[in-house]
Symmetry: C2
Subunit: 176 residues, 2 copies
């Protein structure tokens, strides 16, 4: 997963992949089919780990708005990794989005899970008076999901973790 | 420019580039040095055209907040191109950001020009009472620049221009 995350799909050669996984070309083909099928499995694994962690934050008891802020903070941390790996979903979207409809659909569905989770929490936040009544949970959850994608891309610039902090703080303005 | 914009730096082979530009390998090397140097020139050209157009919107007379909204709308349109090309700067950031410090610095500087332009307009908007006094022009300009990067990436999903419209409308919540 780490190789694809940092270097992208085309950026990882088969030789690097095999040496990193410690398997032979034959067992890669036997187990996964080919490099593209392996990449799809990697996206699914990423979703089952990173996205699942983010969604779990939204399910916690207590303030739903604090949970939304925690998800933003989670992605700020993810994007601040000094390697500049950013987020696998955003990277794959840029690299393969217009060229591979099957991968694009998987990525779109992944972002939709995040957006729906944020929307549920924001609806709850509005219900209990934490989010101003004039704010639409649907609109804000879409804008926040988009901001999280943006933060992931900004994280590819390795130079400035404080920049991501400023983006995070600015994005919270959407909630007040 | 169009080839790199849609397929990325690695995604464009030298043969495609030469046939698209109608020049020989020798004249590419004589004129630009190599493929990477050409790519840097392409980013500079993109900046001199697309970014300059966006910044010109901020300089118009009239409501500074309307000018900020016009810039968001400009990037929504840019990202809605049915080819899924998105935005060259965001694409290059994902592809080369962690791996090529010179390109990363050029892209960072490009985003900073946009952010500073938005910040100036937002400061003016606050001064004339269009932006609530509690909103920080610096924070919001950073969050908006990040949202524009996100929109550019969402545009790589070719499926749904209405999605970008919803993101655009949601992002406007930052301003009220």
């Amino acid at each position: 997963m780490r190789l694809f995350w940092l270097y992208g799909y085309q950026g990882v050669g088969l030789a690097d992949l095999l040496s990193h996984m410690g398997i032979s070309r034959q067992s890669l083909y036997d187990t996964f089919g080919n490099k593209r099928a392996l990449f799809i499995r990697v996206i699914e694994h990423y979703r089952a780990t990173q996205l699942t962690q983010a969604l779990a934050l939204l399910e916690r008891d207590g303030s739903p708005l604090a949970n939304v802020r925690a998800v933003l903070h989670f992605f700020e941390q993810l994007a601040s990794d000094p390697s500049g790996r950013g987020c696998l979903v955003a990277n794959a979207l840029v690299e393969l989005g217009p060229h591979d409809p099957e991968v694009a659909a998987l990525l779109e569905e992944t972002l939709e899970l995040l957006q729906k989770g944020l929307q549920r929490a924001l609806r709850e936040a509005r219900r209990c008076g934490e989010l101003p009544a004039r704010k639409s949970p649907a609109a804000i959850s879409r804008a926040l999901t988009n901001s999280l994608v943006g933060m992931a891309v900004m994280g590819r610039l390795r130079t400035e973790p404080p920049l991501l902090r400023k983006v995070f703080l600015g994005t919270l303005c959407m909630l007040d």
